[in-house]
């Protein structure tokens, strides 16, 4: 349990950070809060020769509402900052609440949202709710920038589509028509437990009819996945417990969980059913919570 030797850089800007990442390629790793990378290094699962610190970059530390664009969340904000953000509490309490459900207070105080996404752990708590709200990710590299829907950022467990020199700089939750959203985390204890299943749902309700819906499942596939058949099933249907229960059954059939030390695949599948139903109910009836 000792950190191996590494060289540390403390760049002044995202651009400089990207240049460093380009220069050192696969030997380098960017860290912000360090709650994932440093732990992996101590466990000898990761041995970067170069570490590029980006946690101090002020340009990544904002949460603001830009009219016409949406809510912009810098990748360097911590989970506690997401949790306590007035902007998010007002517009998308569901995002703020999802951040609150992550890990424990110590980790939330250090770990950043950009890190949680880039680390691409299948059970991560932030991706489902952000994907359910059609969030996009702005990615900056040494050679330029691009924007992707967040759901296209993930490539597999601990893998993203980012190049070595690229960093996510901000997330944008676009102004949309969703009337409600929520994230339900199912962990095996009240705090400090990874999600066995995480389900985010967002709905656009109009006169009791579901115009549109997103269901995003965490911890049951290599990457966060949308239960698209269940989403399609819901469109145009009147909201109601039976409809949501049926959507749960459909979503349950769409996921491909694994069995591990925390739960069996069979149990996870059924929990997808239960929490899809509950999340839809909550999003339809209570707004962004």
């Amino acid at each position: 349990m000792y950190l191996p030797d590494f060289e540390y850089f403390n760049p002044d800007s995202v651009e400089e950070a990207c240049q460093l990442l380009l220069k050192y390629g696969s030997k380098a790793k960017a860290i912000a809060g360090g709650t994932d990378v440093l732990v992996k290094m101590k466990k000898e699962l990761l041995a970067p020769e170069v570490i590029v610190g980006i946690g101090q970059l002020s340009q990544l530390k904002k949460i603001e509402y830009v009219p016409g664009k949406g809510v912009v969340i810098g990748s360097g904000v911590t989970h506690n900052e997401v949790q306590n953000s007035k902007v998010l509490q007002e517009k998308y309490l569901s995002v703020s609440e999802a951040a609150h459900q992550m890990a424990n207070n110590q980790v939330r105080n250090l770990g950043t949202i950009g890190g949680n996404i880039s680390n691409a752990v299948p059970s991560a708590d932030m991706p489902p709710i952000l994907i359910a709200l059609d969030t996009t990710a702005k990615i900056v590299g040494a050679k330029g920038e691009r924007t992707l829907p967040l759901e296209d950022v993930f490539a597999g467990p601990n893998e993203t589509v980012l190049e070595h020199d690229e960093l996510i700089t901000e997330f944008v939750i676009p102004d949309g028509s969703f009337t409600g959203s929520t994230y339900m985390k199912f962990g095996l204890r009240a705090s400090g437990a990874l999600a066995v299943v995480g389900v985010a749902a967002s709905v656009q309700m109009e006169d009791g009819v579901i115009k549109d819906a997103r269901i995003v499942l965490g911890a049951v596939s290599p990457v966060p996945v949308r239960a698209k058949k269940a989403e399609d099933f819901l469109k145009g249907k009147p909201a109601g417990e039976e409809i949501f229960a049926e959507a749960g059954v459909i979503a349950s059939g769409e996921c491909k969980p694994i069995s591990d030390i925390r739960a069996s695949a069979e149990y996870r599948k059924d929990m997808v059913r239960v929490f899809t139903k509950r999340a839809l109910n909550k999003a339809a009836n209570e707004g962004h919570v």
Partner: protein, 788 residues
């Protein structure tokens, strides 16, 4: 938060005993000023770690340390050839552990050697350079595998891999079977758990001439001293053990962990202080936690629910070495007779050796699993008889001043009253059988010994010696005892007792413990013994002081010639001393300060010292294993839990808990309530979440607090801790234990509440959401099948 019900011990007017006084260590601990072992530094100190096996069962072919030795900063590397070839353990009947493996490794994490270097970083680097070549042997990971005819033999001395086998029988089972109205058999399984203290094992040793001084995190300075002396063939007087504050033990720091022995050996070789320390995962590898137990009970009762006989078989997963496991095996059966009064009892137990970390003692030593199983079993019997579960317990609860069939003398025992109070406080009658589906209430009984009747190694030494020295000017006193405060608060309680016995202010006493050179003999913190056993020794030392003070004061005090209650010379027995003031009992206005009297004593006689001695005397019967479970006093307790189970997910939320403890006179109520809160936290964790888990090759999977899930504050229910405040004739001021006994009913009461909530018995701990979900699913499917 907590209520106290005064009961059976009404007649007490004490200055310090019975009050929630401020802990002696509180400022040190809340300010961070207090030192734990990891805070200690000595000049030229080296840092060391154990070299551990990476196979579960294998023959060591070769250990190549050459690359590691070349690394700058590495000071010494030792293996079996460099240390005494003596075997050790905790029970002389089963000394089966080598300092380092000599031929085979017996579990993943077994000790192969030790290494020390100038700093931690170098040690970790060097560890990676050590190459061990193995011939892998077939391994067994469960008692079932160990019991197979063609199973590999892990120890020559344990044929069939049976480490301990017990067959005890009392009364006439066959006759009782004829008389029984109803007989039922249940089988329940308890899992392997670990203590979960937050301070890993660590030891620092250095030599001062022929003497070695060890600082450690341990539960007994005396046992550590004894075993180090034995292992290194030294005189006990040449081994000094000192403990700074200890960050929890729960039974996991009674054994020799290896940091202690290797620190002594490496410090001898290097001539420098050596600090050996565990990473958190090594605490799991060292193990010594709760045994996995597979328990089957057959009980016969009368129509009224009176138990006529119990037959039980318990199979224990012992792990690789014995440690305290022989005692655990006996404890698993022997204390049932204390709880419930019945004559005919058979207890068979088999403790198997497996290629996993050794199991040992964990809070409630050997008790919580059997209590869980038997309390579950009782609920089924009650249900079958159409009885309220508490009524069934009341029919069978042991009474005070009785003797168990296995030879324990039980003085105070108020289990009946505990059941009644818990029933009334929890609103049981309005809830049992009346709660909606998914909500349930359950009861569990338990209790424990108040100190073991015999020393773990065989000796005629007294169990505790107390000494108190008063300062020359009489203004301060020091209490000496090798009692070990591991966080439970024994320093505070013993200081309260010394103050009470002496009649001297609590705040003017300092306690000197946890040091074999400075303090006087005590066996340490295990078997819930400190308050009663060290308490007797300290009480007697305090009374010795008071006796001397009153003799001296009788010479100094004068009653008035006229108007007083009498005139003339005073006798010591006419005086008393309380809170630092010596006074005439009949005329308290005539008084003098303790300090003045003590100073006068010093001027005349020299140092004022009080001495106290405690030995429980010869206890118990004569059958094999009769010693285990003997104790001067037995606590009892009833706990009730109310739970809410999510019928879709299987998640259990404990919504309310009640504990009623019959723990004698309560010296410090705040500390008792702390024990009860902690016991619920530990017990709820073991019922719902915790299990030490290994992969198919015996490699530990969850040696950390993220995947070995103990409850957090957010998971804890409200705890209603009620005290019977009874009186135990064998305890100083009537005290009994609470620390370990409080964990023994928890697993049973929570499991029974879950059963009450869902109507399905999940018969294997922990009751994880998935197991409950599966239990409900299977019950549903069985019902559907029946319907068709």
């Amino acid at each position: 938060m907590s209520k106290e019900v005064s009961y059976l011990n009404m007649n007490k007017q004490y200055s310090y005993v019975g009050k929630s006084l401020k802990r002696t260590d509180i400022l040190d601990k809340v300010t961070g000023r207090g030192k734990y072992i990891d805070d200690l530094k000595f000049s030229n100190m080296l840092y060391g770690k154990l070299i551990r096996s990476t196979e579960a069962h294998a023959r060591i072919i070769n250990i190549d340390t050459s690359e590691a030795e070349k690394l700058p900063g590495v000071k010494a590397i030792i293996t079996a050839k460099d240390v005494p070839s003596i075997k050790y353990g905790l029970s002389p009947a089963r000394y089966d552990e080598n300092i380092f493996c000599t031929d085979t490794v017996k579990f993943y994490g077994d000790k192969i050697g030790a290494i020390c270097a100038v700093d931690e970083e170098t040690v970790y680097k060097a560890l990676k350079l050590i190459k061990v070549e193995y011939e892998v042997l077939p391994a067994v990971f469960t008692p079932a595998e160990a019991a197979k005819e063609d199973a590999p033999q892990i120890f020559e001395e344990f044929p069939g891999n049976v480490n301990t086998e017990i067959h005890l029988e009392f009364g006439d089972i066959e006759k009782a079977k004829q008389e029984a109205y109803y007989v039922r058999t249940d089988r329940l399984v308890g899992q392997r758990t670990l203590h979960g203290f937050i301070e890993p094992h660590c030891a620092i040793a250095y030599w001062e001439g022929k003497r070695v001084h060890i600082h450690s995190s341990h539960q007994s300075v005396h046992y550590l001293q004894h075993h180090i002396a034995r292992i290194f063939d030294m005189k006990e007087g040449d081994v000094r053990v000192t403990l700074p504050y200890v960050g929890g033990g729960f039974g996991g720091k009674v054994d020799i962990s290896g940091v202690d022995i290797s620190a002594v050996a490496l410090s001898k070789i290097t001539g420098q202080p050596v600090k050996m320390f565990f990473d958190l995962e090594e605490v799991w590898l060292n193990g010594r936690g709760r045994h996995g137990m597979d328990m089957t009970y057959t009980t016969g009762v009368t129509k009224e629910g009176k138990i006529l006989f119990v037959e039980s078989e318990t199979i224990l997963d012992g792990g690789a070495y014995s440690g305290l496991g022989v005692a655990t095996s006996y404890y698993a059966g022997s204390l049932l007779n204390v709880l419930y009064d019945f004559d005919n009892y058979r207890f068979d137990a088999y403790r198997y050796v497996t290629n996993l970390p050794p199991c040992g003692a964990q809070r409630g030593h050997g008790q919580p699993h059997p209590r869980y199983a038997f309390e579950s079993h009782l609920d089924h019997i009650a249900e079958d008889l159409g009885m309220d579960p508490i009524d069934l317990r009341l029919v069978n609860a042991r009474k005070a001043n009785t003797v168990t069939p296995n030879g324990y003398e039980v003085k105070s025992y108020y289990l009946t009253e505990a059941n009644e109070l818990a029933r009334d406080a929890s609103g049981w009658k309005d809830k049992k059988g009346k709660l909606p589906v998914g909500r349930g209430i359950g009861v569990g009984n338990g209790g424990f010994v108040t100190g073991a009747g015999f020393c773990m190694y065989r000796t005629d030494l007294p169990h505790s010696i107390g000494m108190i020295k008063v300062y020359d000017d009489g203004t301060h006193a020091i209490v000496y005892s090798q009692a070990v405060d591991i966080g439970q608060g024994s320093d505070t309680v013993l200081t309260q007792m010394a103050a009470e016995a002496m009649g001297f202010p609590y705040e003017d006493i300092t306690i000197c413990t946890r040091d074999t050179d400075l303090a006087t003999l005590d066996f340490g913190a295990y078997a819930s013994r400190q308050t009663l056993m060290a308490g007797w020794a300290v009480k007697r030392a305090g009374e010795d002081i008071k006796k001397k003070i009153l003799i001296q004061a009788a010479e100094m005090l004068k009653v008035k010639e006229d108007g007083g209650y009498r005139s003339g010379k005073l006798m010591p027995e006419e005086l008393d001393c309380k809170e630092g003031l010596v006074f005439v009992k009949q005329e308290p206005g005539v008084n003098i300060t303790f300090a003045e009297v003590a100073r006068a004593y010093f001027v005349k006689h020299g140092v004022l010292v009080g001495r106290g001695y405690y030995h429980p005397g010869k206890l118990g019967g004569k059958h094999k294993g009769a010693a285990v479970g003997t104790s001067p006093a037995y606590s009892s307790a009833t706990q009730i839990a109310e739970v809410e189970v999510d019928m879709e997910t299987g998640v259990t939320k404990v919504v309310g808990t009640w504990d009623v403890h019959d723990s004698g006179c309560v010296v410090n109520p705040q500390l008792l309530h702390g024990q009860v809160h902690g016991a619920f936290s530990m017990g709820i964790g073991e019922t719902i979440w915790e299990k030490v888990t290994f992969d198919e090759k015996g490699k530990l999977l969850n040696g950390n607090f993220a995947e070995y899930r103990m409850p957090t504050a957010l998971d804890m229910p409200h705890v209603d801790s009620l005290v019977l405040d009874t009186f135990e004739p064998n305890g100083p001021w009537g005290v009994k234990e609470v620390g370990e006994g409080a964990t023994t009913p928890t697993l049973g009461c929570v499991a029974n509440a879950v059963y009450d909530a869902i109507g399905v018995r999940v018969a294997e701990l922990p009751l994880t959401p998935e197991k409950i979900w599966r239990g409900l699913k299977e019950a549903r499917e069985a019902k559907e099948k029946e319907g068709k």
